[in-house]
């Protein structure tokens, strides 16, 4: 009775909410994004009311642009239809210097932030695992960034690094150094790419450590104490214990954290706009540190322009492709290196 029981109706009932919502908000968008990315001059319609977008329409199949006006001659909406299927959107974004910048910036952020966060996180976890007193106090402190609002603390970092009266510059000055134009201009000098990236990376590391320490530490605590006792009997130096015991036994966690960090870093967005008060860079160059996700959302925000939606989709697909490629490579590498 039980082993042959077929619960298809109950299952449908139980899965209905999930499947319905996912059909609308996951599966349809997936297909739609791919379609839109490959439609050149993809059609959408905007219906406006006094300049506010009040509705959207989608049509497929014609190749004309229509504008509608109300009685007073105000533009109330227009539709445009796709002209064909092809790589036009991809070509356009790859010709767009901003997109190339976005790719470059994102790549640099990933390359800097991931190794730095993982290594520092690992070191902190090892140190934390080596002490008994105050361990949970330190652990709690290190976890604080995880439970804070990314935007709020991004603004705080902007204040910390403020050229005029930020803590960092005051500290440098008290040591006898010169103030630095970190992210805001100072003494006629505009902030450089390097200083802006530096501030962003400091914030990214600050923000990302919590989760990594938590995972590493719980991983270390599940390592059999006997390995360490054996090492202690041989009076193995700490560094060798770290490289020969801790890291190999922790390698599944390290692989997992590295993959998720890579994915997370590629999606960098909120931290950038928080630090630059809604922009992607200092006032002198508001797109200085634009990221791929930022570029995508920017296109989305400007959808009244011709086929920006298609370009947003294309840019999102490029992001997806990069993330997939990195994940596959990393899984392949970790299969060889990870000691399970």
């Amino acid at each position: 009775m039980l082993e042959y029981k077929n619960d298809i109706w109950k299952a449908l009932l139980a899965l209905a909410p999930t499947l319905l919502l996912m059909a609308v908000f996951t599966f349809y968008p997936m297909i739609n994004t791919v379609f839109s990315a490959f439609m050149e001059g993809y059609c959408y319609g905007v219906w406006r009311d006094n300049g506010n977008t009040i509705g959207w329409l989608s049509h497929y199949g014609e190749t004309i642009m229509q504008s509608s006006y109300d009685a007073e001659g105000n533009l109330i909406g227009f539709t445009e239809t796709y002209v064909g299927i092809g790589f036009g959107n991809f070509v356009t974004i790859f010709k767009d210097p901003t997109f190339i910048d976005a790719l470059k910036n994102t790549a640099i952020m990933v390359i800097v932030s991931v190794p730095v966060t993982v290594i520092i996180g690992l070191l902190i976890s090892v140190a934390l695992n080596g002490i008994k007193k105050l361990q949970s106090v330190f652990q709690t402190i290190y976890f604080l960034p995880y439970v804070t609002n990314t935007i709020a603390l991004g603004l705080v970092f902007a204040v910390l690094f403020s050229s005029r009266n930020g803590l960092i510059n005051s500290f440098i000055e008290s040591l006898g150094g010169n103030r630095v134009a970190w992210i805001t201009p100072f003494a006629g000098k505009n902030p450089s790419y390097f200083t802006c990236l530096f501030v962003l990376m400091v914030y990214t590391v600050w923000n990302g450590l919590a989760f990594k320490i938590l995972v590493f530490l719980s991983g270390m605590q599940s390592i059999d104490k006997q390995y360490y006792q054996a090492a202690q009997i041989d009076s193995t130096p700490r560094w060798r214990v770290f490289t020969k015991i801790t890291v190999p036994l922790l390698s599944p966690m390290i692989a997992y954290i590295t993959i998720t960090s890579f994915i997370g870093a590629f999606k960098a967005y909120s931290s950038v706009i928080a630090i630059f008060n809604g922009n992607y860079g200092p006032r002198s160059n508001p797109n200085m540190l634009i990221t791929v996700v930022g570029y995508t959302y920017d296109k989305l925000g400007k959808m009244s322009n011709v086929n920006e939606l298609g370009r947003a989709c294309a840019s999102a697909l490029v992001l997806f492709a990069i993330i997939m490629a990195i994940t596959v490579v990393e899984l392949w590498v970790s299969k060889k290196k990870v000691h399970y």
Partner: protein
């Protein structure tokens, strides 16, 4: 490597000194890291309390010269002057967080139950398809969802803020794992007593998965408190969540730092509630995050 078995007094003393220095080194390192973590919080609070005059000076002291608690009220008033209601941001966030969490729990529990307990054709296939969607970055969905919500005329509604986020494949996976650890005999025992599947879910599975469900609740609430991108796309001022309100109202537009104390006061008011919740539920939150992290 030949190991001296018996250490002389001198060697033993050296060894102990080395250990002690090592331990002190570790504590120094940990304290420095702790300062690195805490200083931004301190600076947020310190800036929030500084007077406008103090902020205009180029020399800034580590501690505020006077504590201007009125800044918090000014921050709220500042929002009102810009036609926004700071408390509405709180209210919106709590409402959206509550609705999202409730919806997520309902869909997640039902779906995890179906995948863990029910027998039906295509179960594994459907589950694998759902898992595969976890690989896809959310940005892919955001674009089309924005178009969908717009075409439904649902922009600037609570529904728009909640609906796309009340399913989570990750939580379904997480809870299914927990459900599957419940011994099958409990189910058989319940069947002998004529318990229906849904009653079994309610009476046995849910109570037994309490800690996982708590974790999901906490993670989901925290997600809403941190949400920025989606609300920014689909909401106007009256439906902003805290992050959006913060960044749009307290933007340091001209870069003069005129409103820094207000900005930091607002940031403090947004940060502190979550920190308090964290300090109360510290164990559950950390356990939840680490378990979901390792299993995901």
């Amino acid at each position: 490597m030949n190991q001296e078995v018996i250490l002389s007094e001198e060697e033993l003393r050296k060894f102990k000194i080395k250990r002690t220095i090592g331990n002190i080194g570790i504590y120094v390192f940990l304290v420095i890291v702790a300062l690195f973590i805490i200083i931004p919080f301190y600076w947020m609070l310190a800036t929030a309390l500084r007077s406008e005059v103090e902020l205009q000076q180029t020399k800034i002291s580590f501690f505020p010269k006077e504590w201007v608690f009125a800044n918090f009220k000014s921050a709220i008033d500042y929002a009102s002057n810009k036609g926004a209601n700071f408390f509405l941001f709180y209210g919106n966030t709590i409402l959206v967080g509550f609705l999202t969490t409730l919806g997520t729990l309902i869909t997640t529990i039902l779906a995890a139950f179906a995948f863990a307990r029910l027998n039906f054709k295509g179960k594994e296939v459907i589950f694998s398809i759902l898992l595969a969607t976890m690989m896809i970055p959310g940005e892919i969905f955001v674009i089309s969802n924005y178009a969908t919500i717009s075409s439904w005329g649902m922009k600037n509604t609570y529904a728009a803020l909640v609906l796309p986020f009340i399913t989570s494949v990750f939580y379904i996976f997480f809870l299914r794992q927990t459900f599957r650890q419940i011994p099958n005999e409990l189910y058989l025992a319940a069947k002998v007593d004529g318990t229906s599947d849904f009653k079994y879910l309610w009476k046995v599975m849910i109570p037994m998965a309490k800690s996982t469900i708590t974790s999901i609740t906490i993670l989901s609430m925290m997600g809403s408190w941190n949400a920025y991108v989606w609300p920014n796309l689909v909401s106007e001022k009256d439906h902003y969540l805290v992050s959006n309100g913060l960044l749009s109202i307290y933007k340091d537009v001209d870069g003069t730092g005129q409103i820094l104390s207000l900005q930091m006061a607002a940031a403090t008011m947004i940060t502190v509630p979550l920190l308090i919740v964290f300090l109360i539920l510290r164990k559950q939150i950390m356990r939840g995050v680490s378990r979901s992290g390792i299993k995901g």
